[in-house]
Symmetry: C2
Subunit: 141 residues, 2 copies
DNA sequence: GAGGGTGGTTACGTCCAGGTAACCAAAGGC
DNA sequence: GCCTTTGGTTACCTGGACGTAACCACCCTC
């Protein structure tokens, strides 16, 4: 009943070289603060630097530049400079970037479906922890 | 041709409260150093603390405890204490934890498929950057 | 009574992701 | 001459993730 319905995932890297594990490098990008949000912002077409900045009011200019550079370096995002004045720059997903949308969608969907359960679990865990902590206070006092 | 084949992913959170965005909380867990590896270690059955530690030689005891606690708090992992002596503790995936294997598998698979392209892209990006940097050195010198 | 094997916790130090703010060039408006 | 807008870069600082090492209780064996 609680048997895994998923085919076994091979452990993606040897542990003696987890520093250059390919899966880790992807997870690191997915896991950083802004990459995923930027990829989602670009999913329906190219956007200019300023538009992205205004779409994500909390991102600093520095992090926007840096995150876009990393995505470009990984080949997930294209950067096009238009020779206007002042110069305008457009960012868009590459084909590989587009293809990353599928697994991201799986994750986003899972997160949205399970978010209530996770929240419940956290609440009851914290509640139980507080109980135990209270008991310890009593014993110590 | 380069049109997105994926149905549009709704932006998963409002940006005025990205601190308690459900998707972010999942990505933070996925993105941390050990959670994913532990989930993969547990995919084919319960394992004891010591077994997990020996499976991941690079993890410190502190991080193993901490990561397992977080996974337990989120309801992804069950912790069972056996009243033997010395006490032994077994960790296993909950049903929700099992269900997370599917999106993780998507990501792992994507990473493995695209890893060569990413590496190529990084190499040529870094090569180009070195070129530009070299040119700047010449101008400055 | 010293040492080993359970599964932890705690104090402490380090390192880096990320935020803040100042600065840049070029051209246009006034 | 000064301010604005474009898309950056740079120096500096902080918070938190993570690692290291010591310590704990428990009971066993030797």
């Amino acid at each position: 009943m609680t048997q895994t319905p998923t085919p076994k995932i091979p452990i993606p890297c040897e542990f003696d070289d987890l520093s250059n594990c390919p899966v880790r490098s992807v997870l690191d990008r997915i896991g950083d603060k802004w990459s995923t949000l930027l990829i989602l912002q670009l999913q329906d077409g190219p956007k200019r630097f300023g538009v992205l900045r205004r779409s994500l009011p909390d991102i600093s200019q520095r992090m926007l530049t840096q995150t876009l550079r990393n995505l470009q370096r990984d080949g997930l995002v294209d950067r096009t400079v238009f020779d206007t004045v002042p110069p305008s720059v457009e960012y868009s997903l590459t084909d590989m970037g587009q293809s990353l949308l599928t697994p991201i969608a799986g994750l986003v969907n899972w997160a949205q479906v399970n978010q209530p359960s996770i929240q419940d679990s956290r609440d009851s865990f914290d509640h139980a922890a507080a109980q135990i902590d209270g008991a310890r206070q009593v014993r110590a006092g």
